[in-house]
Symmetry: C2
Subunit: 508 residues, 2 copies
Amino acid sequence: MPKLLPKDEVWKYKQYICKAICFDITSGSKIVVLNQDEAHQNDLYIGHRVILRKGEKQSVCIIDLSADLVRPGEIGLFAEAAEELEAKDGDRIEILHMQRPESIEYIKSKMDGKALTKEQIDTVMRELMQNRLSEAELASFITSVYIRGMNEEEIVGLTESIVRTGRTLDLGVSPICDKHCIGGVAGNRTTMVIVPIVAAAGIYIPKTSSRSITSAAGTADTMETICNVSFDIEELKGIVKTTHGCIVWGGGLQLASADDKLIKIRNPLSLDPKGVMLASILAKKKSVGAQYVVIDIPIGKGAKIPTEAEASKLARSFISIGKKLGMKIVVKITDGSRPIGRGIGPALECLDVLSVLNNAGPADLYEKSCLLAGSLLELAGKAKKNCGFEAAKRIVESGKALAKFREIVEKQGGKPNIKISDLPTAAYRYEVEADKSGRIIHIDNKMIAKVARAAGAPNDKAAGIMLHSSVGKSVKKGEILYTIYSNSEAKLDFAIKALEGWNPIKIG
Amino acid sequence: MPKLLPKDEVWKYKQYICKAICFDITSGSKIVVLNQDEAHQNDLYIGHRVILRKGEKQSVCIIDLSADLVRPGEIGLFAEAAEELEAKDGDRIEILHMQRPESIEYIKSKMDGKALTKEQIDTVMRELMQNRLSEAELASFITSVYIRGMNEEEIVGLTESIVRTGRTLDLGVSPICDKHCIGGVAGNRTTMVIVPIVAAAGIYIPKTSSRSITSAAGTADTMETICNVSFDIEELKGIVKTTHGCIVWGGGLQLASADDKLIKIRNPLSLDPKGVMLASILAKKKSVGAQYVVIDIPIGKGAKIPTEAEASKLARSFISIGKKLGMKIVVKITDGSRPIGRGIGPALECLDVLSVLNNAGPADLYEKSCLLAGSLLELAGKAKKNCGFEAAKRIVESGKALAKFREIVEKQGGKPNIKISDLPTAAYRYEVEADKSGRIIHIDNKMIAKVARAAGAPNDKAAGIMLHSSVGKSVKKGEILYTIYSNSEAKLDFAIKALEGWNPIKIG
C-alpha cells in the first residue's frame, strides 16, 4: 500500500474537492477523468500525475480529461483508482498537486554512469510503489541499468528494497527452501516434480510460480490444469504448514510486488538487465523466507544464457549476492538447447509430470528434477554431500513424491488421487511427419512454443504439442515427429499455417 | 497520417468487428475500451496495442477493458481514437492484431552501442508516427541515444526522417531564412524583433515558435497576447507570401511532427540528448525550406550550455550537419547567465519588444536582436560581411521594422497599428525591495521564471515580472528590485510565498 505522503510534499494551495463518478473501465494503470476547464484552472494537465485522497486512503493517478461527460465538481474514476481509494459514486475526493518525484534525479545519475546508494535505490522503489513514476521514467531507469550495469552493493540494495516494499510470507518454520529456473526451455516442468520430492523429505517449499508470458505454459498455468493456484497469503500459510509444499501463482500475493511492476516495463522490450534480474529473482526467494535455494541456468543454442562462461559468471553473482542476503545458493548449469520432457502446453506438461511421479515419465525431466531436488536435500541437510540425486530418486521410486503431489493438489482444491486420466484432452489434433530421413539435430525451444501458442496454449489447457522424437534420434521420411493438439479447429489451422514459417525440428 | 499497413503485416485470422461507442474522454494517447471477455477470447490484453480500421482510416490504439460498460460486439473509443478514425456511435470498426514493431530490434542495437543505419532510423520514426511504439519503448530509445550518442550520419538520417514523416511548407520563393535559440534565458524575446527586421529587408522568414514548457512564456505565448498564432499550412503560406514573415505557433502545423512526439518523451526527464536536439532543431528549419539559419547558443551560469568550449563544439556540429542537409548556418554564442530584456511573462515581454521596435527598449534585447538579424542579412546577401548589425539597426531606427511588425500582427488577426497601450495589464502587483545595499551580482533565469509562473504566467497573459535593475548595478536597501504582476490575488500570494524558497536576485 502506498503510504500517505507527508503534508509538506503537497502544495496545499492547489487542492480542490470533487464528487466521484466510477467508470467500469480498467486500463492497467490508475486513471482519473477531470473536467477539462476545471483541471486547467487548477493547473492540471492531461497525462500528468495527481494525488487523490479519500479520508486516509490515497492514490496517485494519471489525468485524462473530458469536456462534458465529467462536469465541473465531478471526478471520473476508472476501476483501479476507485479500488485503491475504495470509492463509490458520490464520494468526496480531494485532488492535490504532486511534486516532481525525487527518483528522477537518481535515474539521471544512473544514466550518467554513477552507482546509486541504497537510500537512492530505496527512493526509486518507494516512488515506484506509490505509482509516482511514469512508464517512460521507469523505462529510462531499466534502460540505464541495462547499459550502465549495477555493482553488487546496488543489487543487494535493490533486492532489499523490493522485499521491503512488498508483502512477506512469515512461516516461522525451518528449513525453508526454494528453486528458480532462468527459463527459456520448452516443457521443463521440473518444479512440479521437485516440490513434492522436497516436501516429502520434510523441507518447507512455499513455491510461487508465474504464468506464461511468451512460453506455451508457465508452472502456474500447468498446475491450474488440475487445481486452484490463486490463494492469499493466509491461505498459502495454511497449505504449506500442513503439506510442507505448494505450487501456486505468485502474481496475486504481492510478494516482492515492486518486481511485478518492474517486469511490466522489462517485458515489452525483452530487457533483462543482469542487476535487475538478480534482484528480482532473489527478492522473490527472500520474501518467502527461503534459506536454501537452487538456481537452474539452462545454456546452449537458443537459451537465454548462451555459453557456460557466462553462466558461471552469473552463478558466482547469485552465490555472492545470496550470501550477503543470508541465503545459501547452489547453481546448476543445465542443457537448455532443447525442450525437456515431451509435452509442451499445460495439460501435456502435466501428463509428463504425473508420468515422472509414476516412475515412467520422460527420462530427461526425471533426471533433471532429481538433480535439482537433490541439491536442495543436500543444502537442507536431508542428504549427504553428492548423495542428493540418489535420495531424490528414492523418494520418487518409493511413491512418496506422488503421494505428496496428490496431497498438495487436493489441498489446493483439486481432485483427490489425481490421475493421468483426469487430465483434459483436446478435440482436434494434427500429426507432423518428417519430410526426409535423417538424424534430428535440433529442436528449437522458441519455435515449438510459438506453434503451441498458435494452437491455443496456455489459455486452452489441452492445447499444445507432444513430441514423439528427440535430438540425436534417427527418423525415416513420413515418421510422425510430433502431434499438435487444440480445442479450436481454427486455431489448429492457424498453428499448421504457422509451420510454413517456422520449422521447429531440424533433421540433418 | 499513419499509412495503412501492408496486408501481410496483419494476422487476418485474429480480426473481428465491433460497433463504436464514442466516449467524451481525452487521454493524450489513443485509447479504446474493449469488452473484457471478448478481448481475452481474441488474445487481446490490457495495455497492448491493436490496429483499428474503418474503411480506409486506420489507427493504432492502446487497449483498456470493461466488463459491462462496453458489451461484447461493442468498442469504446476515446476522443483521440474516434477523431483519427472519424468514427461516430454505431460505426463498424475492424479490430486487428498488431505485430511486434520492427523498431524494438533497433532500439536494442542502440542500447548495445551500435550505430543505426538511415533505414533503421527511418523505421523507428515511421513506427513512432504510426503510434506503434509505446511510451516505454520511446523512453528507452531516447535514454539509449542519451547514453550512447549518435554520429553525424545518424543525426543527418534522423533529421531527414523527421522531415519526411511530417508535413513541409513549400513556399516556392527565395531566400528563406530562420533562426533558433537553444533557450534557457528568461525574457529574451529576440524572435519578435528579428522577424520584422529580416522581413523588412525582403527575406522570407516563416517563423514557427513553441509555447512555454517550463519558462514564463514562449514566443508563441507572447505573440498571442496581441494576435492569433494558430494557423494551418495554407493560411501560413498566404501570410508569409504577403508580408515575408510571420510569428506563429508551430505545434498545430504538423511540420516535423515526429519531433513533437519525441519532445513529449524528452520533457518529463528533461532529457535532451545532443543528437536528438540537433536533429529536432534542424528538422524544423528544413521543413519550412530554410536555406540560411542563425542559431543562438546562450552560455554561462544557469544556461543550458555552461561553457564556451561546449558551445563551440555544438556550433561545429550545427554547421557541419547543416551543410550535409543543404543549409548554411551561422552560430552566435551569447551571454545566457541573466535575463535579456526587463519583462518576464507574455504581455511584459511584448512590452519590451514594442519598446525596442520604437527605438526605446532595453539595450540588451535591442543589441542582441540586431546581432542575430544582422547575421541573417549577411547570410542572405542583404548586407556586406560584418555590416549586418549596422544594417539591422538602421531598419529598426528607420521605423521599417515597427511597420513590418504591425503589418504581420494585423495579418495574423491582431489590432491594426498595435501600440504599447493595447497590451493587457494585471489587476494586482507586488513590489520586491532590496533587503540590503550592494551590487547585483546575479539574476537567476530559472528562479525568475518560477516566480513568474507561480504568479500565473503564461496562461495569465498579464502575469509575470518586470525587472527594475540589472546585473552590475548598485542598489540601496529598500530600493525596488522588481514588480510581480498577476490577475489572481491567490496566485500573487503564492508567488510571494514562493520567494521564501527562491531568491532570484543576488546582491553581493
